[in-house]
Homo-oligomer: 833 residues x 2
Amino acid sequence: MFTFDAALSTAVQANDQPQPAPPQNATGPLSPELLSQVDRFWKAANYLSVGQIYLRDNALLREPLTVEQIKPRLLGHWGTSAGQNFIYAHLNRLIQQTRASIIYISGPGHGGPTLNACAYLEGCYTDVHPDITQDEAGMRLLFRSFSTPGGIPSHCGPHTPNSMHEGGELGYALVHAFGAAFDNPSLIVACVIGDGEAETCPLEGSWKGIEFLNPVRDGAVLPILHLNGYKISGPTVLARTPDEELRALFTGRGYEPYFVEGDDPALVHQSMADALNHCCAGIRAIQQAARSGHPGQQKPWPMLILRTPKGWSGPKEIDGVPVEGTFRAHQVPLAGVRENPEHLKMLEAWMHSYHPETLFDSDGHPAADITALVPEGDLRMSASPHVNGGRLLKTLDLPDFAHYALAVPAPGEVIAEAPRKLGEYLRDVLRQNTQNFRVFCPDETNSNRLNAVFEATDRCSMRPTVSIDDHISPDGRVMEVLSEHLCEGWLEGYILTGRHGMWTSYEAFAQVVDSMITQHAKWLEQCREFPWRRPIASLNVLLSSHAWRNDHNGFSHQAPGFVDNVLQRRSEIVRIYYPPDSNCLLNVFDHCLRSRNYINVVTCGKQPEFEWLTFEQALAHCSQGASVWDFATNDGGTEPDVVLACVGDVPTLEVCATSWLLQKHVPGIKLRVVNIVDLNALMSPDAHPHGMDNITFNQLFTRERPVIFAFHGYPHIIHSMVHGRSSEARFHVRGFQDYGTTTTPFDMVVLNKMSRFHLAIDALKYVPRLRSQVSDVIDFFQAKLHEHYVYIRQNFEDMPEIRNWHWTADFIQPDAPPQLAKGQPRAAAFTDA
Amino acid sequence: MFTFDAALSTAVQANDQPQPAPPQNATGPLSPELLSQVDRFWKAANYLSVGQIYLRDNALLREPLTVEQIKPRLLGHWGTSAGQNFIYAHLNRLIQQTRASIIYISGPGHGGPTLNACAYLEGCYTDVHPDITQDEAGMRLLFRSFSTPGGIPSHCGPHTPNSMHEGGELGYALVHAFGAAFDNPSLIVACVIGDGEAETCPLEGSWKGIEFLNPVRDGAVLPILHLNGYKISGPTVLARTPDEELRALFTGRGYEPYFVEGDDPALVHQSMADALNHCCAGIRAIQQAARSGHPGQQKPWPMLILRTPKGWSGPKEIDGVPVEGTFRAHQVPLAGVRENPEHLKMLEAWMHSYHPETLFDSDGHPAADITALVPEGDLRMSASPHVNGGRLLKTLDLPDFAHYALAVPAPGEVIAEAPRKLGEYLRDVLRQNTQNFRVFCPDETNSNRLNAVFEATDRCSMRPTVSIDDHISPDGRVMEVLSEHLCEGWLEGYILTGRHGMWTSYEAFAQVVDSMITQHAKWLEQCREFPWRRPIASLNVLLSSHAWRNDHNGFSHQAPGFVDNVLQRRSEIVRIYYPPDSNCLLNVFDHCLRSRNYINVVTCGKQPEFEWLTFEQALAHCSQGASVWDFATNDGGTEPDVVLACVGDVPTLEVCATSWLLQKHVPGIKLRVVNIVDLNALMSPDAHPHGMDNITFNQLFTRERPVIFAFHGYPHIIHSMVHGRSSEARFHVRGFQDYGTTTTPFDMVVLNKMSRFHLAIDALKYVPRLRSQVSDVIDFFQAKLHEHYVYIRQNFEDMPEIRNWHWTADFIQPDAPPQLAKGQPRAAAFTDA
């Protein structure tokens, strides 16, 4: 028996020795026929995997292999392939015998050859790629397309019909698996985790998914930890961990590990089949107990630990150096076949060792006993609708969002926490969609003012609760775990399998999953090339507790850059919104929940702020994406002296206050306030589907007038978006910069030079027509800034004229122009409030 | 005895019952005197913590508390404070009795009050903030500064002398702890991990640090998992996990957990002291065994699991609702003290319960028995040089980088993998600095062509090795773990404690740690305000396997956005380099290793590419940051028709080839090639210290001529950098976009419209002077693009004229202008090579 300790001491020697003959009577659950079927499916998949890496012709090796038939660049990864083909073959056997609904997630890097090969054997690859037929010609095309220009990648991209998980960036297999299993009570997600991937932090954090998996309503995740020993060059931590430590580790994580180890296929086939039977039975036992009212039986959940050699069944040794079972099998074990005739011979021998002539018939179609292992119809893992979630997508039953409108009698007369109304709306979304909508959040649902959702549901936890707990139950549909990785990753898995949801986060810490968003975006981008990949729900992100109002938290909590990364993705799938108040937030979010295949990022504060628009006004504003706010504009439709533009709730407040201040103190000034709720509207139509054409753009911003632009995020975003517009140098952007921390709202805008006083001074600088008459006003505003600085550091809050300011129309009343008497202390000279 | 199960069932009731009288004879290692000292240090720290949250006056409660003495905004987090103060007091006792060198890492969120309070009691707070004196006036200022404008944050910011870990974003306590312990053989890093933080993936992944901790050469990490039960609103996973599961989990991770549980201080003091003694002895036993040649004794390492109530010693109940021990104690338990006189009274009673009049003398100085618990001098955790690493920083002994110069007889005559020479340089850096320099890498050191380092050292692993392993040993100084989080986090911990290092990564997956980089940058930015925070080594990042040459990997591996995020940090600490070849890479990296307090990001491919500059030329070029490349320029110092600018190795190749093509095919065209190695040089001097003034900028780029700009990253970066320069609209940027995947070098640049043919066509479009004479040339270049497309998809490699192209001066020879005969197949019309 192959064991870990023996392996450590004999790994090298084993490579030199001939394989023991397969025992005649390897005992186990597989009949000789079934054993043969599984083994031959495995060999066929292995053959197809090797073929993808090397061949551009002579797919069935009907003639001696020549250099010309080898691809000029050898790309791909053999190391993980044979082990994964082995697992796949065995899962097919399990499905055949149990009719279980199973999907396969390929965690190890570069698992493309495996899933391509298996989908090809199952016929599904041909279903979705009709040119890749199940014959010699199709096989040749499959081989030629792998890792070649215009072809398919070495990962399980969207082209692979049996995957909803790409895995190019390692670490997210298990979190996706749990997301897929939620609310899929009859599904088993077989999740293969490579021992390299297992070292990533997201993967390590994902094991605790079972703490949130409810066997009554959810499906099962079957983790299959594949220990093949090495990463690219070094040994993996888990492969060098003795079995008893592994057992303790996974027991502590709530799993019961079944070990399958070995390098003799006949033996490993039987023990793998045995272990899978036990795992499947264990899953069913937990589910049956839970579903018949005995939730105490929940844990441990079964898992499988499979130790097989890296590059199993490949060359044992090349040029006297061990390869199979070592890191040298990671990518292309015989890399020099084009230059070294000896290596070419070895490749040929390796491929012939699978006896392709017995695996495929004379046309190149897989042999009957191999296809006999393929499950029926949608039970094939490559045909499961769960990995092409759009096939299962049900449109959400959404309440009429007009019901949640906030009454806004006049602009700036009401103060509210914008997400509260959204919370009520989401409460009813949860009530009306009890099986396919969830909210994912790192423990901030209350903090982000979405409390109302707890009138409809609870936080989910499988652990015992105590009476002091607040809305915790195994049935909760709010998934709170203090991990952005898990929240976002679960949501990905959930929507990729055809459901809906949202993730809400503190703005700064959304960046924790920058790279996960990048990968999900790339998946969506590539899906556009495959119409059979049906549209899925958008990934909806609500960022609150944002950079401008982090009163509790300070500098570390101020980083609005999540949007920057999203904006680098292809515009077809990116939508960025900055609703300035409650009614706009409601409008935007309702739209997001109805949309498909996007990444929607909605940024909106949770602190009490002014409400500007009625529901109807918000509807019109949001449908345009950007519009002139008439109440704060006084240019009468003519060219203003200056345009004040704003994106985001705090910038909008400051811009409105700036307009108010300027109209009050600079009689005759002509201003226009433009608010942008849909950031992408600023782009050109070439660059984004929401982009404004130049006519509309110039109608909003004029052709030449200076624009003082107050932006929620980093200023460069706006500079880059207005690049190419008429007189782009006239856009003077104020945005967030890393300038330290504070705890009062006004202080934040001061530090970032975006306060109403700064903006007003900026505006006046760019209005030469008025320059001579406004120098006193500028002095006055500067005095105000100083007054504020002193006040706030003495009193720890904004001065009353800021704290109590609200929009009024009284500046139209004649008012004495500001006068700053010479020699008088500037701070005390003037009071607005 | 307080136990988990009892706690679950009695948590609510316990809140209602009076505390049991402290047992007269609580047995344990603490003498009555020591018990009293520890307890009183704890109470004093608790008092100071509450004071920071609430008071702006009446710091010692010498008069009845009034509303006016309460801050207008109550910010801060009580929930974690008492537990951490408890741990801190006990560590002081341990240091006193063992003279161990210990530092404290505060993992739980918002741990600021604790470390401020403890550093204040130790006198170090006053040492670094002389206005915060150890008397009533200083205490008042400490209270006033906490979470107020212009004051200190609620985290352990750089202002806190006893921390090298801020913790505003949760998850990095333990990875920083291991980084601090590496190569610090006499140090114990006490790492307090909150049960909220413990749910993050980075924290879960960090436990495996011990697999890389060598007790011979490294110090120890003592994890103290603080289970206080709740996050913001919900229970934590680990707090609801029974002890036996916790024991299995941590045993599996290689630790031996010591449990300390309770809410009766007298009892918990004794068991805490006992557990700390055991942990300390356990650490010493492992170290002693290892250092005397018995490495078999390495594991398990001790750890401590402390279960105490959230908000311990705070209000048990408010308005009939339990608070202590619940999520309601998370932030400010009595939030309405300004409005509710009853609550004000409760606050007063709470603070008086610590008997401040006995903890501080009549001047407000801590009582003698409390300061007697404070260790001596640098043994104080707040005075340890390890948390102010610059105090320990030794300049690296660097070899003369000229020794590693690559001979470049002429531009483009040599092809090399740029990192190889750097690898040789780093090999010797490792040889010359055997105790304070490490390389951190997610298993890609070889892949990134730095192989030569293994001539000097190994990969580090504490597990048994086998003969087939490649350069693995416990003494290895290359830290390879498949986790960007761990690599970057270890490096942070390592340099924050005064050492040097580098992290090398695939470019795309550097984004995995976007948010970690943001947090480290914010730490460095804030350190600039505290001159006593001595400069530390820069965080050096080498990105290879970049977006343009991901031949093995495809679309998921293409994402150059790491730099985007870094660029949003304050320019004082950000340096971005794109060396175009080996000699420039060497120059840049040597500079990085000498620099302080920066984040240096160096992006350079690993594939064979042309070498352009000799060592001396590279030296001059890198010191300028950007310069005209004369060999590819033919404007004779006059105004060129068009400027070709390039940043990054692949863009440089394409731009040089473009210049070559244009000079060959468009006689009379005047071109200038500008290469930028220091990206920040493009910025204005206002925006970055390396920024060029307008005179220099215009000397390079002219004032008005069109600039075709080939950039390695996303184009918007350049647009934003040239904003405000002369005629900014003339910059036509080509960069990376999410346009799919490929496997040949030339195909990548074609897909992203940055190939030599694209750039040449672009250039000609912007040269109206020549437009009439070049329409055939444009047709020709377009035909070439088509020819390439066909060729590459048939042959899976670039066409020979691309593959074999290299820089020559032969285009100056008279040559027939390109002629494209009408009706002839465009692809076959012309051959350059």
